[in-house]
Symmetry: D4
């Protein structure tokens, strides 16, 4: 993909695949660039987005039997049909043949990627995939790392390499495209359930019978 149009291309429920990389309890507890409660809510926001839109989803973990621990149980609860790839060693998921094949088999060239930690499990596969022609949306608020300065360095590095740094609610909005779209209502409800202050606006609006 060349030229500035690449940046204006749109995520759709037909061209995107969701990759959840190493959202594991032993890594999640180390994140200090975002509040844990907000991080968990954003990760599940992406998972529910994928479910509502039937996005092909690949969930992968890194040595889950060790201290990294299991993938957040709510991810598999939300996406029971997701392709699950347990990696026993590859730190860059793109180095895992199974993971890469799982992405390739979707036939989709736009990857919505989130992972823990931002500067390894998200940054490495994001840069690798872009180098092989994929359009990667690195969702940094559904990812996390040791502190904010480390996240910011990874944001610079990914932007430099052509990765699109994104946030979960803007990914939802880009795919939703239109409030009147078939999944508009469901995605609107997902937004107000996860973007708490927007949820309070909706509650207030509804209570006063103004809908």
């Amino acid at each position: 993909m060349t030229g500035s149009n690449r940046f204006a291309e749109r995520l759709t429920s037909e061209n995107a695949v969701f990759a959840s990389i190493d959202h594991q309890t032993g890594l999640l507890v180390g994140c200090r660039d975002i509040d844990p409660t907000v991080l968990k809510s954003n990760i599940l926001g992406l998972a529910h987005l994928a479910r509502i839109l039937d996005l092909p989803t690949v969930v992968t973990s890194s040595v889950a039997t060790g201290p990294n621990g299991p993938v957040m149980p709510e991810i598999s609860d939300t996406l029971p049909d997701a392709r699950f790839i347990g990696r026993d060693g590859e730190i860059n998921a793109w180095d895992s043949p199974e993971f890469k094949r799982a992405i390739e088999e979707t036939g989709r060239k736009k990857i919505i990627m989130a992972g823990i930690v931002t500067d390894v499990c998200l940054m490495f596969p994001a840069i690798s995939a872009v180098a092989e022609g994929y359009d990667v949306y690195a969702v940094i608020d559904a990812s996390g790392t040791w502190d904010a300065a480390i996240r910011d360095a990874a944001v610079h590095r990914m932007s430099q390499a052509g990765v699109k740094v994104a946030t979960w609610a803007s990914v939802l909005a880009e795919i939703m495209g239109d409030w009147r779209s078939p999944k508009g209502r469901e995605l609107g409800e997902l937004m107000s359930s996860r973007l708490t202050s927007y949820g309070w606006v909706v509650d207030g609006f509804t209570a006063h019978g103004a809908s």
Copy 2:
């Protein structure tokens, strides 16, 4: 209550009443001293604490038919049996005869209080109740206000007046007293569901079959 022992007295499920004051959508959206998603989770943490312990609960709102909006629907969903007092004007809930009578009728002298905003709907009744001999736990992380400097000023003002400034998880821990207490397991689950990073520790622990 006099002397330093007052501070060492313990909240128990027999001596405490929970007062939720003006947790209304139109006020909640204005809070900027705490992340909205964390604030909502903490408020519901207190509500579920009251439910698990059958704490007498008084929920009050201020002119809910106006812009302040309805009480967060999840509070009444969680505490359907709570005494609900809709105030039509009194800004200090302690000035509402119904609210004060609802507290008095519980016969309990320790009030777990949270409200929006911290420097009005929590601070005023907290200071008023202390002046009339109550022992008030002002739960500042299940309350919120326009910004952190305003919260800190209210914390100074309440401490000066003898209010015990508290936080929701420490209120839970004080009442729980012992992990082996009858409600220990339920309260432990409430903690790990609301204190996200502790929840990840529990998930990791459980997954590795070490319980």
Copy 3:
């Protein structure tokens, strides 16, 4: 005033006097513990509160013909009838016989005080007045100083000396007492005009015809 009840006493439009101390342009530009636009809005919030409630008001400046500059013009525009005391030297307004007499002549024992800078022009007269039996509300978000650490030190010092550290919106709420009070509507409009996010809630509420 003794005992914890002092803290539970209420500001009313009959027992309070508003003192604006050195809100002068040359000092205001030095404030860095609060955003200038928010500080100006909060100061004028207090001024309009005094006007709506006809609170006796004393406005004083320190060597206004020098670099400290004039009092914010909007204060006199808002409170044309306020007693204006131009001090030519006294740094602690309480050392100015004219200022102290202006307060005493109101016969009121509760002083709503705000000034620039917090740790001098507010703190000194606040502590002096408390030492002479007044009940002082030091409104720190309608005051300002060189940085937040200096403000926090002054908040500790004033609390230690018995000054009630307050914020402008909680002063409004304490005096208003009840939304149905005669000035309730006017004070409500003042709140939504100055507490911007609350104003947006009111605008949304009004637009949807739900009032």
Copy 4:
């Protein structure tokens, strides 16, 4: 537009159009990357800039009859002649034929864009317009979003795609070009009315008769 000169091109009152996108009360209350009072002042700073310079202005809203709520009433009060496009569904305003036509009809290729939230209602149309040859100034301090990290990610994404990330006072200064320009005095007054600390400098200067 190619080459580094694109970045040195100047906004003028002849080549720029102002687009206010979704400055709606229900979205504004969710913004937490900037103080609400400062955000409102900056948005109205841009609106008054457009009015003073008779800039063609397109104001659009997203499903204003729903929880997003009405456009900030002060925008239409300030720009009664602005083209108003009520979108019933398109999240990216650039997808609304009416909105795009309204921009095209101005014949102007430089768009001063601000919107709520930054990472959707500003970022999407900004990137789309740049991809179609427009020169877009994305005014991030007259826009807002859920938190600062989300804003910073959108700033990286827009810079990467060739959008000029701007701020309202620098847009004013770029168009004003010269204090002696016909609208110099009016724009100078707008600056000191909205940039509060500069306003205090002007008040001090004026009071001491040094102009």
Copy 5:
């Protein structure tokens, strides 16, 4: 203890006991009011202080076989002779007869206390012990909790109840009393090994042969 002299009394290696409360891995990972690497270094600073001064030490844990996990292994490595009390349920260590007896048996009335989390495992026993006549130094930078606002609330609550809020390096300095004291050199080395920037000063000083 009464009167202001209580505050001027000194910690000595003869009158103090060190209590490490729930420094357990499953709780430590949740702390976000202090950097984990700094927290660990401060905790071990206190442990090494106790070792160097042969302070009687009581180490206690809360349900260590569960998710709270083991006490930081480095504490027992550093203080192999410490009295270890594994509590199976009591959340307030002061409620554990074994723990309280372990403190009482030292015959010492000054307790250097640190624990995770600050607002429960440190605050509860600190306030309880003060109520029973002990002089408690609550070491907040060798303790930790979910976020800084929760820590600050606990600091207010403990100060209100007469607990001395302290920090590890000031506890070291108070006990050391004099650089020439018998343990002066060892404690000085402990300071420079744990207060990193002071260590760099010492390294520079030593390298330039100026000692």
Copy 6:
């Protein structure tokens, strides 16, 4: 000293002594609760205050031949006549007979104290002196320590023990008392030379011939 009046007593050039405690280069470089350039300027602000007012001054250092290093040379340059006490071991300056005698010999009961670090070299002697009837102004912005949380804990501890937590410019203002006082002009110049933004106001004022 008892009763609230103690807090309203005034520093004067006749009742105050300035104590600079351990403002040594090896300790200053470790301060991270305040910018070094601002800290140095504030310390020298106090030193010049003492010189202008001929305040009796005691400068003391702790093991200056070791890594703590020499006292900031500018202090002795500014206060060549200050009593200098080089302590060879006492960490709490109040434990040094020479230091305590130097204070006592001034016959003054109000001590303006600043030192590095805040939670040891300032806090210990401040609390000790208050316990022996002195009125201590602990100038926290002419002191410094390892980080802001440690400073805040020391501020709580000192307030609890009756120390007056102060800042250098408010100490200057309290002693100056009146702009027309004999030293008013000199102290005004000291303020504008050290409070940079106030200095710019004065420069602007002077340049426009408005004095």
Copy 7:
């Protein structure tokens, strides 16, 4: 200049010109992205750098007879021989023929630029000069603006346009090139006089006779 080598080119005392743009008191007081005392020290650091290296220097001001006020007097005190251009209207200094000619006449293609405010008086001429083939070092810590978010947006915008975002001490180091260079000692002294913590290191080093 093309290719990555442009970025590796070095500032020297033969190829650089220093441009101080609108360092005026009325604008300086508005800066809130950097502490005023640090900003003043950094600006004078650059001015002394230019003096020590005899760098051709152009100092310009914008409508200095109005509220913007005079240029910081210390700049002309430090650089009495600098070309001074008083602009009566051009906001972008590059639009002032006199200013541009003053730069051109130096025959130097590398411009060390600093100005107030960052997003106007520094950003505009920096981008304009790069577009005309100059290599511009925009010294952001000797510049300032209304808040940090506005500065960061300007940093993105200038980087996007090919401006080298710099800081005053790195500009000094780049030109100094070698501690043994003729001006090495003088520039080293400038560094330790302005970089306060480095100054303390040097004072400690010198005091211990280790030079």
Copy 8:
């Protein structure tokens, strides 16, 4: 190196050289963009990474006999076989023939670079090396400088010039590539010893015999 693949290339123990530039005590104490204890831990994390992987290592210092002081002793303790280059003047290490030759002699084209301060001793050689075809990983969390704004400016400048801004743990992860790699266990232990919260997860995991 051209095209986006450059960014996807991988660090390996065969293609990388580690350069530690001016990690000297007199410079380290000036760093205020990262906690000193965390900075020291990260620097030693890189040093141990180099030792475990036998990476060719070049350690250089700048005028170590002066105030800059010695290199952190722990670096040479950890890497006794590293090539040590003591520069007597060159500020940009790339200007030192010995340093450049030491890098060239390794035959490796990927340089893992860290230095104090970020905006001089790291940025200059990083940009110089990239201009000569090297692929430079500038490890900003094992580097430090005077404050965070200066670091961020250097991060923008290095990204603009093609330097890969990195962090120490992501460098470790990139080289490790796979947990099962020969050095996987050793590098995993290094991670948990330096990434404290990950270390607590591992301690908890190990204690519960779940490995």
